[in-house]
């Protein structure tokens, strides 16, 4: 058995592998503990309240879901745009997409007030609700990407790869648009009322998904003691830089257009200038650590060895960190800012009207949120060991044969 499991690994390292599994398992167990505790005592044990109704679990869940769609990008570039380097990475990309989505959805479901009624959510659809549409998109994503993976792994089904690849491509674009629209539809809240929300989520998903892919990929290469081909690395590095740059660009446009509308000034002031933790997380987390620093790392000329580290691991890791920061600012920051009930008035009430709402996530929220990452990690670790997800390519020979691609 062990022999079989190690089939596509250059070294078995079973002990360390089990340690990895245990680590992932522990995190997931922590989430289950939090879940059952909350199920029993209610959300009173969380830092969430009637003002901040979506907290840390949602930050993680939405990040994972958005990254899931982006992780599929690598496969799409391979199937839809026919790039060989990406084609050979399609299975890994598809698998990661599924693992990320599973992790994100797990948190979302475990955080529900009535998770026992999940079946209601699955059988009663209000088609006016973008949330309901999201559920349809998520379920469809599992099916389509699952089938796509099967065609990639079974040579007899090769003919289906392309049509399914296309379907997956358009499906995931819709999925991320729909996820972004969850916020875009909240017209009453100053922080979300923008048509740019959905396209911005799509661009960000490209960056986050590719970043996760690159981190996992370099992890796998390291584990197996292989070095990633320089050409492949350069391509991915450039692609990540484009996505990170585009995300930054969209963020700037988003805030500039908000500044254009006088009624959004207060909110912009809050996020950009005097929103305390949210302002800090925005500038330090989202913009600097998640945007500018990775770009510098990606483009800074360095010695060969240092480059390896920066390109494939550190830069995408920072992008992921920036992604969490962005979600925190968007989701929690957007709620912390008071709802504009009576514009032009100072408002006060027992229900915290007119005040900046505070939020302090409790340990249970952390456990739940990390559980999503744990699920993704565990699924990935198992999948890469059991199936052939290691990218198989010989970039140089391809390059010389096809000139360029």
């Amino acid at each position: 058995m062990a022999q079989q499991l190690c089939m596509n690994q250059s070294q078995c390292r079973t002990g360390q592998y089990i340690a990895l599994l245990a680590l992932g398992g522990l995190v997931v167990l922590g989430a289950m503990y939090a879940f059952f505790t909350l199920e029993h005592h209610g959300h009173v044990l969380t830092g969430m309240n009637n003002q901040i109704v979506w907290g840390l679990p949602h930050v993680f869940a939405v990040f994972l879901i958005v990254a899931a769609s982006g992780a599929l990008n690598v496969a799409s570039i391979g199937s839809v745009f026919g790039k060989q380097v990406y084609k050979s990475r399609a299975p890994l990309s598809g698998m990661l997409a599924l693992a990320l989505l599973a992790g994100g959805l797990a948190v979302l479901v475990l955080d529900l007030g009535r998770p026992d009624r999940l079946i209601v959510a699955m059988t009663h659809y209000n088609f006016k609700s973008i949330f309901a549409w999201n559920m349809i998109f998520y379920n469809g994503f599992f099916v389509i990407v699952g089938l796509y993976l099967v065609t990639l792994m079974d040579r007899r089904l090769k003919g289906w790869t392309k049509p399914l690849g296309y379907t997956a491509f358009f499906w995931r674009l819709s999925l991320t648009t729909a996820t972004g629209s969850i916020f875009g539809f909240l017209v009453a809240r100053a922080g979300y009322n923008s048509a740019l929300m959905a396209p911005m989520f799509v661009i960000m998903s490209f960056a986050y998904g590719l970043a996760v892919f690159m981190v996992v990929q370099s992890g796998m290469y390291r584990w197996n003691g292989i070095t990633l081909d320089d050409g492949v690395r350069r391509r991915m590095k450039n692609l990540l830089a484009v996505f990170v740059g585009a995300s930054l660009y969209f963020t700037v446009v988003f805030h500039l257009t908000n500044l254009y509308f006088a009624k959004q000034w207060e909110f912009e002031r809050f996020i950009l200038l005097d929103g305390g933790i949210y302002t800090t997380v925005f500038w330090v987390g989202q913009i600097f650590l998640g945007g500018i620093l990775p770009l510098i790392l990606l483009f800074l000329p360095r010695s060969k060895d240092a480059q390896k580290m920066c390109f494939c691991f550190l830069a995408p890791l920072l992008v992921i960190l920036g992604g969490f920061a962005q979600m925190y600012v968007t989701i929690v920051g957007g709620q912390a800012f008071p709802l504009p009930l009576f514009p032009g008035h100072e408002v006060q009430s027992s229900f915290y009207d007119g005040v900046v709402n505070s939020y302090q996530p409790s340990v249970y929220e952390w456990l739940l949120a990390m559980g999503g990452v744990g699920v993704t990690f565990l699924l990935t670790v198992i999948a890469v060991r059991v199936f052939k997800f290691m990218p198989q390519d010989d970039f140089k020979t391809l390059q010389s044969r096809r000139g360029t691609d």
Binding site: H41, V44, N49, N50, W54, R117, A188, R189, L341, D353
Partner: protein, 247 residues
């Protein structure tokens, strides 16, 4: 689905007959009902012939008075606590005009929007609007996702953070579900007024008038016709059932 959520637009003639009777009657000791001319017998479903609504005159609303809030808590079995995780179906909001310094106090609750954002976003259809315009949460299909709370422009909704005890059997509530003002649907279905309106009346302020907006003869319709009133956040075009006068 609970009884009150069924909607039976048919049987209007029967219902008009009942209404006529109800209209002429004083129900309960010393309580005269305004604008219930078109109310209906409890066994009938909500009808689109009615649209329940309210007009709040902020100039009559007492500064520091919160009798409406207390009455709501008692009627609906709320604790009355005001921590960040406690439910508040109705609250007193103090507003001060930043330019003129003019201070007002007013009650704020679910505005029973015609184009209710909470109903639109709810994935399961638990947030629903009855034929007569009352917006409710179906306790049995709410999954507690809180999307409706994100969508409501008036912060009208609360999430039940803790297990509940000592509940009013007429007002089903439950941990893990979202809830909000129901216009005291259990009372309205009996032909009575919401608890807050009754309390305001009893205190002698009479800042709240409840009734059928579709009935031109109801008091609320008449006052609305003769005075200027506004919706809060009118820019969102939700056609709220609750309107304000004096702001």
């Amino acid at each position: 689905m609970s009884e009150s959520m069924n909607s039976k637009p048919e049987g209007r003639r029967e219902f008009l007959k009942t209404s006529a009777v109800v209209a002429g009657v004083t129900l309960g000791p010393g309580v005269l009902f305004y604008g219930v001319a078109q109310s209906r017998a409890p066994e009938e479903g909500a009808s689109s012939a009615n649209r329940w609504g309210m007009l709040i005159d902020t100039t009559k609303c007492g500064d520091g008075c919160d009798d409406c809030v207390t009455a709501c808590n008692t009627e609906n079995g709320l604790s009355g606590h005001t921590g960040p995780q406690d439910s508040q179906w109705i609250r007193k909001v103090d507003i001060k005009d930043l330019r003129t310094g003019y201070v007002q106090s007013l009650p704020m609750m679910c505005q029973h929007c015609e184009n209710a954002p909470c109903v639109d976003v709810c994935p399961t259809g638990a947030s629903m609007k009855r034929e007569d315009g009352i917006v409710l949460v179906d306790r049995h299909s709410c999954i507690g996702c809180r999307y409706c709370m994100m969508a409501c422009p008036y912060k009208a909704r609360s999430f039940v953070h803790e297990p509940l005890t000592d509940q009013n059997p007429e007002v089903p509530r439950g941990k893990g579900c979202v809830e909000s003002c129901t216009f005291c649907v259990q009372r309205v279905d009996r032909g009575e007024q919401p608890a807050c309106v009754e309390a305001c009346e009893a205190k002698g302020h009479k800042a709240m008038i409840f009734g059928d907006l579709r009935d031109p003869e109801s008091e609320v319709s008449k006052v609305l016709k003769s005075t200027d009133s506004v919706e809060v956040r009118a820019d969102l075009a939700l056609n709220t059932g609750v309107r304000y006068q004096g702001i």
